[in-house]
């Protein structure tokens, strides 16, 4: 018994040492890594960025041409349109399109995919908003649904199942060929948005469905997925311009746009993207998108043509080389144990073996 106690003690101390010491060392030797704010400019047909320098901000492009703040606003007219508007410098026409503040505002969007959110355990209850209430503001519903062997609605006030609504929605889903139980679901369950597109649901046979509530009735639409595409992650967009229903990633780590009007998948011309371990930010306007993919080691920027999703330009910021102290740390602590990581909120022991 005492020998067993000693073994437990030794293992415990060893695990704590390989957890705490590398953590302390990293805490002391971590250096600040800053990548400049970068955007694609259609005006100069290249990336432009804002750098933090000793004397304040410097505005440059990749050819190292320096701009004044005033000039920088002009080369990114759709991003800084409010500034240009206040100075009465907003161009009336750009690339053959008549510009109005309202049009720019409608077409501009920001979108972020965070692996932390992707890896967060889901509760499995979803509010289904009324997408055509006739009111300007959306309202949270007084029920939620779960996807089990049927689409089960639970009345929040009574905490009881609403059998009528459950049957109506379940029957409609089954009529459209939906096979329970669902594999995954994506939506934006909030009333703080312009309009509601309900949910995208993958059924048991990997078929994709668009489900929403229209005038208290179910709207269910089966979406044709291109052959050899196995949908893995879906992100409903609900942007102001209503052009895109969702962004989708598949098992081959390809990135797709699902268009609202035609329900067609269009591949975005970027290399592999895995939402479970990479973050993505998209800053888009009516002509081009700047897509930023961060895998923790490199930050890749892609300028995408908004009309056909082809890549116009790309730029990569490599992670700065390890400092001598950081390199020494890898030799000092060949085995490192950690319970948290930046891409997942889950607490679980993970290891890195730096000598191998």
């Amino acid at each position: 018994m005492i020998r067993f106690s000693k073994i437990v003690f030794t293992i415990t101390v060893t695990l704590l040492i390989i957890w705490i010491l590398p953590w302390c060392y990293q805490f002391l030797t971590t250096t600040k890594t800053d990548t400049p704010f970068t955007l694609y400019s259609g005006v100069i047909n290249d990336f432009a960025f804002i750098e933090h320098a000793d004397k304040g901000l410097t505005y440059k492009d990749v050819k190292n041409q320096v701009y004044s703040e005033h000039e920088f606003d002009s080369i990114l007219p759709l991003f800084f349109y409010r500034q240009l508007l206040s100075e009465e410098r907003l161009p009336n026409r750009l690339f053959g399109v008549d510009l109005t503040p309202r049009l720019i505002q409608t077409e501009n969007f920001n979108f972020r995919i965070d692996p932390n959110a992707v890896n967060t355990p889901s509760i499995g209850l979803y509010p289904l908003l009324e997408s055509m209430s006739g009111r300007v503001d959306l309202e949270m519903p007084d029920d939620v649904f779960r996807l089990s062997e049927r689409m089960e609605f639970i009345d929040i006030e009574t905490n009881a199942i609403n059998e009528f609504k459950t049957n109506v929605f379940t029957q409609m889903l089954q009529k459209k060929g939906f096979k329970f139980p669902a594999k995954s679901i994506a939506g934006n369950p909030t009333d703080r948005k312009e309009y509601d597109e309900g949910y995208l649901i993958l059924d048991a046979e990997h078929n994709l469905f668009h489900v929403k509530q229209v005038k208290r009735r179910p709207y269910v639409r089966k979406i044709e997925i291109p052959k050899q595409v196995l949908v893995q992650h879906m992100f409903l967009t609900e942007f102001k311009n209503r052009k895109f229903l969702a962004f989708v990633s598949d098992s081959q780590q390809r990135f797709w746009v699902l268009e609202t009007q035609t329900y067609t998948f269009k591949q975005v011309d970027i290399p592999s993207f895995d939402p479970a371990c990479m973050s993505m930010s998209i800053i888009g306007n009516m002509f081009d998108w700047t897509i930023i993919v961060n895998d923790g080691k490199t930050k890749r920027y892609f300028a995408i043509d908004a009309s056909n999703y082809h890549c116009i330009k790309s730029l990569t910021y490599e992670e700065p080389e390890l400092t001598p102290m950081q390199k020494f740390g890898l030799y000092l602590f060949p085995i490192q144990l950690y319970f948290t990581e930046p891409t997942s909120p889950l607490i679980f022991p993970r290891w890195t073996l730096s000598w191998f």
């Binding site: 101390v13 704590l16 509760i123 209850l125 519903p141 639970i154 948290t340 889950l346 679980f348």
Partner: protein, 222 residues
């Protein structure tokens, strides 16, 4: 065993009642808080906050089981060590491991009853107002805190029964680091995958106090 259990009961009964009362009162406070928000803003708001903002409404009791575990151990074992009463227990015509094991078992049972009452109280109320998914989210999140209560009891006992101060300090540092693992995140359900291993480890750690007792019996000194 019966006599040892009775001895431990005499020693800890007031603490047991106080701990049960305080923890249940705090649980009741959390539940009243849910009722109050429901009355003020409606059930839809409460559910929405839980679904979209990681709220579980019982954060107040996060460290309560942990503190109860420490206090239970102190109430049970500090008098034994201060007045060297443990010597008498170890001289009983009963195996040393069985004696200490019985005392530990008593403490664990005591905590189990208090924690079970807490869970029962929470589950009965929460089941009435929340769907199963939300109840399990709250309970699974709280389970880690209550498990920390058992671990803090076992580790405090390990420290209390240790005869030397130098080693006590080392044990204290190890205990702090181990318990830190249970409080790394406030996000609900993030321990779910790790939970079975944490339960297993907590069970294994119950063996550590026996080593301290052996060192005490061997007459180890600073």
């Amino acid at each position: 065993m019966k006599a040892l259990f009775y001895k431990e009961w005499i020693k800890t009964r007031w603490f047991f009642l106080a701990a049960a009362l305080v923890s249940l009162t705090l649980c009741e406070y959390c539940l009243l808080n849910i009722s109050r928000i429901t009355e003020l803003k409606g059930a839809v708001h409460v559910w929405e906050v839980m679904l979209t903002r990681d709220a579980i409404f019982i954060q107040l009791i996060r460290f309560v089981p942990f503190l109860i575990g420490i206090l239970a151990s102190l109430v049970q074992f500090v008098p034994e060590m201060q007045q060297k009463r443990i010597k008498l227990t170890l001289h009983l015509p009963y195996s040393q491991n069985k004696s200490i094991g019985t005392m530990l078992l008593f403490g664990i049972l005591l905590l189990t009853i208090i924690f079970f009452l807490n869970f029962l109280f929470l589950i009965v109320y929460l089941n009435q107002v929340f769907a199963l998914e939300l109840v399990s989210r709250i309970i699974l999140t709280a389970f880690v805190w209550y498990l920390a209560g058992f671990l803090s009891y076992l580790l405090t006992t390990w420290i209390c029964l240790e005869p030397t101060w130098k080693r006590r300090m080392i044990n204290l540092l190890i205990a702090v680091a181990l318990l830190r693992v249970f409080f790394l995140s406030e996000t609900p359900e993030v321990y779910n995958t790790f939970l079975p291993f944490m339960v297993l480890y907590t069970v294994i750690v119950s063996i550590l106090p026996l080593w301290s007792v052996q060192r005490f019996k061997d007459g180890t000194q600073d």
